[in-house]
């Protein structure tokens, strides 16, 4: 396919920019290791240490100005508000003046001063390393507890029309439960050796303060004592690296030290990672401009746009310092969680019933079997296997009946199955309340009926996830989960190639032809539907154990949409799908969702935004996928 001249020109420009960014970023990163950069940074640090040491002096000036201004205001008869404003203003002005006056002095140093800083720095570094090691050991001993159950996001929904809203407690939102666990250090006690190490730092700090007072006699020992902690922190704080030291120094005004091209250079060194992220983004942009037509032809416009959006999110995540390993862990987990559910759509599409929006029917079979397992207080692998086997057994007759229904409504399966699914979910809402479950862990305290959400820790929570879990580069890989997903895909793949599978696909892609070949199309549709229902039952069990919670009642309602859009984004249509589409689609969908929420949270720090973003992003993707389905779907 021809590439237009304008495309080539613009793409070349973008590539040039990319190369510049790449060079700058690379140079920046490498310079961090060089001696000359270290020297400059040391100079800047000395400056910021001096600035920290002078804080008490500046504060003193400020206080004097404050007192003077107060007297003046009293004498001039200001009102209380006027006086307060005036006093604050004068104090701020005085502090600024003082800082300006003292600033040139910050650059002063002496050999003794420099040595003192270096010595203190070494001691601090050792201390912080030891502290970090002990903290990590402490956390490892604590073990992997269940993530603290977050307060349900304040549901803005109040019951409509009196008491018509659900009377149940608000369900725990997915993002709350899956938020990366912030290391909880409560109860951490430093060892005796560590405390001794901390004490040993004191003489070095004193030595530094002594050197400072030699250079600046105006700083009295009392003042310096007040500034002690800030001075120590200015030398080295916990978790320091190039970026933090640089930022601290610039905040103190250290860039006035640098002359010529140095400020720009240091800035470049500091922003090195961001420059590399931008280079990556520019690369993607250039490539997509260049190969726009080919890519759209190969993967369709919606997937192309989503891929671009995905890359944009990666760049933004990098710029906002969102931890990449944590995000990759999150995405891997979501891939496994939703993968099997998306896989359930596959046999449905292949057998010709288009998207099986009645997936809640299969999901509820899985939920029911799990609840039965919990009722009998089963735990561990036994519970998991029991739940899956019983779930499959219960899903088969239900799927069969559902398949019979679908055979009567050929052509409108999608719309009808949505509402059949919804009705089934509501029916089971009644059932969950009335079925004779007695286990106090499962039922409401006050009455009968199952609870809304059930905690999976202790029975099957995390079983597959943690099986053979390993860490690489900070990414925690849920091996068992991904293995199970791979296994399920393999089974489907083999089934596709078996005789029954081939017949089913034939019936789905061209019913008339299949019928002529002697294939019972209706029978094949029922097989596809039953298979889809069964996989959905297994899928919800996998989902619940990974998520850590099982949500009954209205929980299953939205699952059909999520699975459908996942497979559609992967490149499937309502009449044609492969296993590859399932994996790719789930990855893209969940990737965009997970990253989008985190980036949105980082960009705009307002609580409650993540829930709204989740609604917008997931439903937006579903809508997009549906417009594609509608176009190619049967009328």
């Amino acid at each position: 396919m021809k590439i237009a001249k304008s495309q080539k020109i613009i793409a070349s420009l973008v590539f040039v920019i990319m190369l510049a960014l790449l060079a700058a970023g690379a140079v920046g990163l490498m310079s961090r290791q060089q001696a000359s950069t270290f020297n400059t940074l040391d100079e800047m640090r000395s400056y910021s240490v001096m600035s920290a040491a002078h804080q008490p002096l500046v504060d003193q000036y400020g206080k004097e100005a404050n007192a003077k201004a107060y007297e003046h205001a009293q004498a001039s008869g200001f009102s209380r508000n006027q006086r307060r404003d005036y006093v604050l203003e004068q104090e701020a002005l005085a502090r600024k003046d003082a800082l300006e006056q003292l600033r040139p002095g910050f650059a002063k140093d002496s050999p003794g001063y420099e040595q003192a800083i270096l010595a203190l720095d070494t001691k601090l570094e050792e201390y912080y390393l030891a502290l970090h090691a002990e903290e990590q050991a402490f956390l490892a001993d604590k073990g992997k507890e269940a993530p603290p159950v977050a307060e349900p996001a304040p549901e803005q929904a109040a019951p409509a029309e009196g008491a018509e809203g659900a009377v149940m407690e608000a369900p725990i939102s997915e993002d709350d439960a899956m938020r990366p666990v912030i290391d909880d250090l409560t109860g951490f006690e430093p060892s005796a050796a560590l405390t001794a190490q901390k004490e040993a730092i004191t003489p070095y700090a004193d030595a530094l303060l002594a050197e400072i007072s030699l250079i600046h006699p105006s700083l009295t020992p009392e003042m310096l004592a007040g500034a002690r902690q800030q001075v120590v922190d200015a030398v080295r704080a916990k978790g320091d690296n190039f970026k933090t030291i640089y930022d601290r120094a610039v905040a103190a005004g250290a860039d006035s030290l640098l002359t010529g091209r140095d400020p720009l250079f240091m800035r470049m060194v500091r922003e090195a990672e961001n420059l590399l992220y931008l280079a990556f983004g520019a690369l993607a942009l250039g490539l997509s401009i260049l190969f726009y037509k080919q890519m759209v032809k190969r993967m369709g416009t919606p997937r192309f746009i989503i891929l671009l959006f995905f890359i944009l999110l990666i760049v933004l995540a990098g710029l906002y310092n969102i931890a990449i390993p944590g995000m990759i862990t999150n995405i891997l987990q979501r891939l496994g969680m939703y993968g099997v559910l998306a896989l359930a759509m596959l046999p449905g599409i292949q057998s010709g019933i288009s998207l099986n929006m009645g997936m809640p029917i299969g999901i509820i079979s899985g939920l029911l079997s799990t609840v039965i397992a919990l009722e009998m207080n089963m735990t561990g692998w036994g519970a998991l296997v029991f739940a899956m086997v019983v779930g499959i057994l219960m899903a088969i007759p239900v799927g069969y009946a559902y398949g019979l229904l679908l055979n009567r409504i050929k052509g409108s399966e999608m719309t009808v199955s949505t509402y059949v699914g919804f009705s089934y979910v509501s029916l089971f809402c009644i059932a969950w309340m009335l079925l004779p479950f007695r286990n106090p862990k499962l039922t409401w305290a006050l009455g009968s009926g199952l609870r809304l959400m059930h905690n999976m820790t202790g029975n099957i929570g995390g079983l597959l996830d943690n099986f053979l879990r390993f860490n690489v580069l900070g990414v925690s890989v849920p091996t068992g989960l991904l293995l199970f997903l791979g296994l399920s895909c393999l089974v489907m793949y083999l089934f596709e190639r078996s005789r029954k599978g081939v017949a089913m696909i034939a019936a789905g892609s061209n019913p008339a032809f299949a019928k002529a070949s002697g294939i019972n199309v209706d029978h094949m549709r029922i097989i596809g539907t039953t298979l889809s229902t069964v996989i959905a039952a297994v899928g919800i069990i996998v989902y619940s154990q990974s998520f850590g919670f099982m949500s009954l009642y209205m929980g299953p309602q939205q699952m059909g949409f999520i699975a459908a859009s996942a497979i559609l984004i992967g490149g499937a249509s309502v009449s044609k799908a492969k296993v590859f589409h399932v994996i790719l689609g789930t990855f893209l969908f969940q990737g965009v969702l997970a990253m989008g929420i985190q980036v949105a949270n980082a960009m705009i720090d307002v609580s409650g935004l993540s829930e709204v973003m989740r609604i917008l992003i997931s439903n937006g993707i579903i809508l997009y996928a549906l417009t594609q389905a509608g176009g190619k779907g049967r009328d």
Partner: protein, 417 residues
């Protein structure tokens, strides 16, 4: 091959079409008896619900006739109306003025939204029902974004409507302080008996006139006359009249509802109405006849959305409080289920079906919770039963519709073979 016009077959066909309606009727009667609630309480509740919901249910008719199925995206029209009401409250407008201003603001907003909805639905022909459903969810997210973040931070609002100590609009907005509650209803209220007499009078007089001038068939005249007379007689039975003692009819609201019915009927007689019907019956044929199918569908949705917005204003002013984040959520579902209960199908709906459906649906709604408590000892079960009814009705209606058109197609192809 034409069906023979024998009365027996007609009754069978009638039953098949209206099976959901009759099931609901029987269920309602059973539940009324089981719930043990006093009749006058039930009737009072039913009347309030009718007042609130009739307008919205009627707004669903035009898209159905245009073949776009149940327009669940009327939720978005409701949202537009709520933005209007928010602004009216924010500007401290009172009474009828406030309502009128809200209605005025709703028009451009709902039209714009309707345009977007329609454009999107045009891209998913054949999947409109699901499409409008998801669109409703998506719009709900955008609405929350608007009300929680944009309104607090970017567009400043007065303290009357914002959450104290945080950004965003309050959960509940009280309409009584601005006398917005009952602004339309309260204009004139008459007792049910008065209303009954007036309405029966109008119907009888009108029927007689039309029959005399030969514009109404004798069958229709006798059915209408008979029914009206029956209602009057039943009303005067000893146990019926006191049940209606508490029931008052807000005149203006019902006049508005009546106007909408006339509008629905009237627009069908215009050229646009013909286009609606043509597109609804067969898009391809309509296209060949030179009708701009996409444009017609767009107009249908825009009309429906604006009407739903006004309907939501009526709803809220009757209720008296605006639950900012949840009032609009179930609008599409309840209205859709209601019209289907009345016997409408995915491509056929009339005013009468909408009214009967609304009546039956909400009757069951009122008594389901109590019946649930009595039968299962658990009020929550009644709660869920209501939701189940909603979805169940829609599912059954959809299944029946597809099943029937399937059998019809099979018959046609069998005949042609």
């Amino acid at each position: 091959m034409t069906e023979l016009n024998r009365p027996g077959i007609n009754i069978g066909k009638h039953l098949k079409e209206y099976v959901v309606t009759y099931v609901f009727l029987i269920l309602s009667v059973i539940f009324i008896i089981v719930s043990g609630r006093p009749m006058n309480d039930i009737l009072f509740q039913i009347m309030s619900r009718l007042v609130r919901n009739l307008f919205i249910v009627l707004s669903l008719i035009i898209p159905i006739i245009t073949g776009m199925g149940i327009n669940f995206a009327i939720t978005i029209g409701a949202m537009a109306a709520q933005v209007g009401m928010l602004l009216a409250i924010n500007w401290s407008l009172t009474g009828i003025v406030g309502i009128l201003v809200s209605a005025l603001i709703t028009v451009p907003l709902a039209s714009a939204f309707g345009f977007l909805i329609g454009s999107l639905l045009n891209k998913m022909k054949g999947q409109e029902t699901i499409g409008s459903l998801i669109l409703g969810y998506f719009a709900n997210g955008a609405y929350q974004l608007l009300f929680l973040f944009v309104f607090g931070m970017i567009i400043p609002l007065s303290e009357k409507v914002t959450i104290v100590g945080a950004t965003g609009v309050r959960n509940t907005l009280d309409l009584t302080i601005n006398k917005l509650q009952g602004a339309i209803d309260g204009v004139m209220r008459i007792h049910f008996s008065t209303a009954l007499y007036i309405v029966s009078g109008i119907i009888l007089v009108g029927a007689v006139l039309l029959f005399a001038t030969k514009r109404m068939s004798s069958r229709r005249f006798y059915t209408l006359g008979g029914l009206t007379a029956l209602f009057l007689v039943v009303y005067h039975l000893p146990f019926v009249q006191p049940s209606f003692a508490n029931v008052h009819v807000p005149v203006v609201t019902f006049v508005l509802v009546g106007l909408l019915c006339l509008f629905n009927a009237g627009i069908m007689k215009t050229r646009l109405g013909q286009q609606f019907r043509a597109v609804g019956q067969n898009r391809t044929v309509a296209n060949s006849a030179g009708i701009n199918v996409n444009r017609v569908r767009l107009i249908a949705i825009m009309l429906s959305t604006v009407l739903a917005g006004w309907g939501q204003i009526i709803f809220i002013q009757n209720l008296g409080t605006l639950q900012t984040y949840s009032a609009h959520e179930m609008v599409g579902l309840y209205a859709g289920a209601a019209i289907l209960v009345g016997g409408a199908s995915i491509n056929r709906a009339t005013n009468g079906q909408a009214i009967i459906g609304c009546l039956l649906f909400h009757t069951l709604f009122v008594v389901a919770q109590d019946a649930g408590t009595v039968m299962f000892g658990n009020p929550v079960v009644g709660e869920y039963f209501r939701v189940f009814l909603c979805y169940g009705v829609i599912a059954v209606a959809l299944v029946m519709h597809t099943w029937r058109s399937h059998t019809a197609k099979k018959k046609m192809s069998a005949l042609q073979a």
